[in-house]
């Protein structure tokens, strides 16, 4: 039944999550919200890179546009929260559209390098215009959870509900988009753009569309991220964020949405696990500072070396091999 009605599966999963949020402690709920946000952000990269074949090393900048748009619209227009999210999506989508226009003519290292430069350059714009709050950032307060939910409904649970709902809706929608003719045309262009052009697909427009949609989704993630830390600042969208998202996409398996949870959970869980492991052993400062980085990098290299296509594709390949025998 799940196969025939995937929507039912999503709703069921959503209900499970919501029930669970009442039973776990604050820290896990907060981390859950973070995972949901990463799911959205990684999905945007899977769309752009996995489906449309364009490598972006600067998605953090797109998240930043979303985050700042949400904060500004809330602070200066007093927009209700759901509207700030919509504005975030639109603003980031616009940014993605412009970037896509520029990027459509680029490929490979040029595209990656441009997105990289964007990720480095964009945050510094916040210092140029005082309306953007500068280095110390702007506050982004989405307010308290509605009183109808009860007096001890915590703020973090509210963030989790919002992020999880956004993630479920986004993934469901993206899934449909990727299975639609747009998704198929992206895949066609990715595999062989000359053939695609011959088949009647406008390659340039196709690529720009991918960028726009991907950016819009990233903008939503950015707004949600700003919500969880209640502020936006240039420091919250550093280059490391862009790299983490790209890493998460590769760990999930960049060509398919199916494994997106794996990447998101890994990004949140691994630093904490490593921290706990390191703290268990009373060690020198040199070890305590650097061992986490060492472990994370090693895990990353090993995963990328031996499971480069992601676990989903790996399993499928193994299945196919088995079927062929």
């Amino acid at each position: 039944m799940l196969k025939k009605h995937p929507l039912f599966g999503f709703i069921l999963f959503g209900v499970i999550l919501f029930l669970l949020s009442n039973r776990v402690d604050e820290l896990r709920v907060f981390q859950g919200a973070t995972v949901a946000i990463y799911v959205i952000a990684i999905a945007s990269i899977i769309l752009l890179t996995g489906y449309s074949g364009q490598v972006s090393l600067g998605h953090g900048a797109l998240l930043a546009i979303g985050g700042y748009a949400a904060a500004l619209s809330r602070n200066y227009w007093g927009a209700p929260v759901w509207l700030t999210f919509c504005i975030a999506v639109l603003a980031a989508a616009l940014g993605g559209y412009l970037l896509g226009l520029a990027a459509a003519r680029l490929s490979g290292p040029y595209l990656a390098g441009t997105t990289l430069a964007l990720a480095i350059g964009l945050p510094s714009i916040a210092n140029q215009f005082s309306i953007l709050g500068g280095e110390q950032g702007l506050l982004y307060d989405i307010g308290l959870p509605p009183t109808s939910l009860g007096a001890d409904f915590t703020q973090y649970k509210w963030y989790f509900w919002i992020s999880a709902l956004a993630a479920l809706v986004t993934i469901y929608w993206l899934r449909n988009v990727m299975n639609s003719r747009y998704g198929r045309s992206w895949k066609a262009v990715r595999s062989n753009d000359v053939a695609a052009e011959l088949a009647g697909i406008n390659v340039g427009r196709n690529k720009v569309l991918a960028f726009t949609v991907s950016a819009g989704v990233a903008g939503l993630a950015g707004a949600l991220l700003a919500m969880t830390i209640s502020t936006v600042s240039p420091g919250a969208f550093p280059l490391a964020l862009s790299f983490s998202l790209a890493t998460g996409a590769v760990l999930s398996g960049v060509t398919t949405l199916g494994g997106v949870m794996i990447g998101a959970v890994t990004l949140v869980a691994i630093p904490e696990i490593v921290d706990t492991v390191v703290h268990r052993f009373e060690s020198s400062e040199a070890v305590a500072n650097n061992l986490p980085g060492l472990l994370v990098s090693t895990l990353l290299i090993l995963t990328v070396l031996f499971v480069p296509n992601g676990p989903v594709e790996q399993m499928r390949a193994r299945h196919e091999k088995r079927a062929k025998r």
Binding site: P109, Y110, A117, T247, N290, P292, V296, L300
Partner: protein, 302 residues
Amino acid sequence: MTQFIDMLLIGIGAGSIYALMAIAMVLVWRSTRVINFAQAGMALLSTYIGFELVQRTGNFWIALPLAMILGALFSALVEILLIRTLIKHSTTGPVAGIVPIIATLGLLGFIRATIGFIWGNQDIQIQPPLSKVGFKIGEDTIALSPMNLLVLLTVIGMVLILGFIFQKTSLGLSLRASAYSPEIAQLAGIRVGAIRTIGWAIAGAAGAAAGLLQTVNGTGAVSPDSLEFSLLLTFGFIAAVIGGLESLPGAVLGAVVLGLVLAVVQIYISGTLVFIVAFALLLLVLLIRPQGFIGAKAGRRA
């Protein structure tokens, strides 16, 4: 007038530093077609090794070539262990684009953590071998010092030597062929794997020189998370793209142009626009002339 001359010298001086990094990047790109974040990590590690050598031998001129050799060896090792496995396991398509980037990113993190573990997270210092005080013309000191001159000469030397290797030797021909079309090169009898390793080794040596020279030309300090290194990598990349990723003289030209433009902005406009201008310049070049100043129109998609 003095300020104008100052600006030229400052711009060229800065450009020569960017050129060092840009050359290393173009080398890696031309030999292997991989964007290599590990390049930064290996340059960093080679700089630290150079530091150790300076400490032990007390002589920069011994440490530099030794660091370059060790950098070359380490780079070759990375190619054999990491890159070959990557190429063996991954398929074509989008995975082929992004996976090596993530792998080399992981390597960068690994190198940083290892350096922090061995040498600590504070700055270490390397004293410059030549004076950084500018030459005097009459009463004025100009913005050119023996150290600046050393960097300039190194850049010119690298372009000449590497250019000679690439254009005039059979090794160079093999390198270019293997990068451009590995399958056909293999059919022609070139041992593509070994050639690629050599390409990485050369790039590793260049990276080591770049790392050491840019450190002593700057404050002389370096740490595992050094901001300077990250910045120079980005600017080196921008320089390489402006000049054309396919050509070494192009990389140098791009670097000098970048250095001059930034110097003009710095001195005549406002220092706050430096990053924005660099990015805008990159975007401009990519939009108008994506193959860079010196670059043949791409017949093959990079």
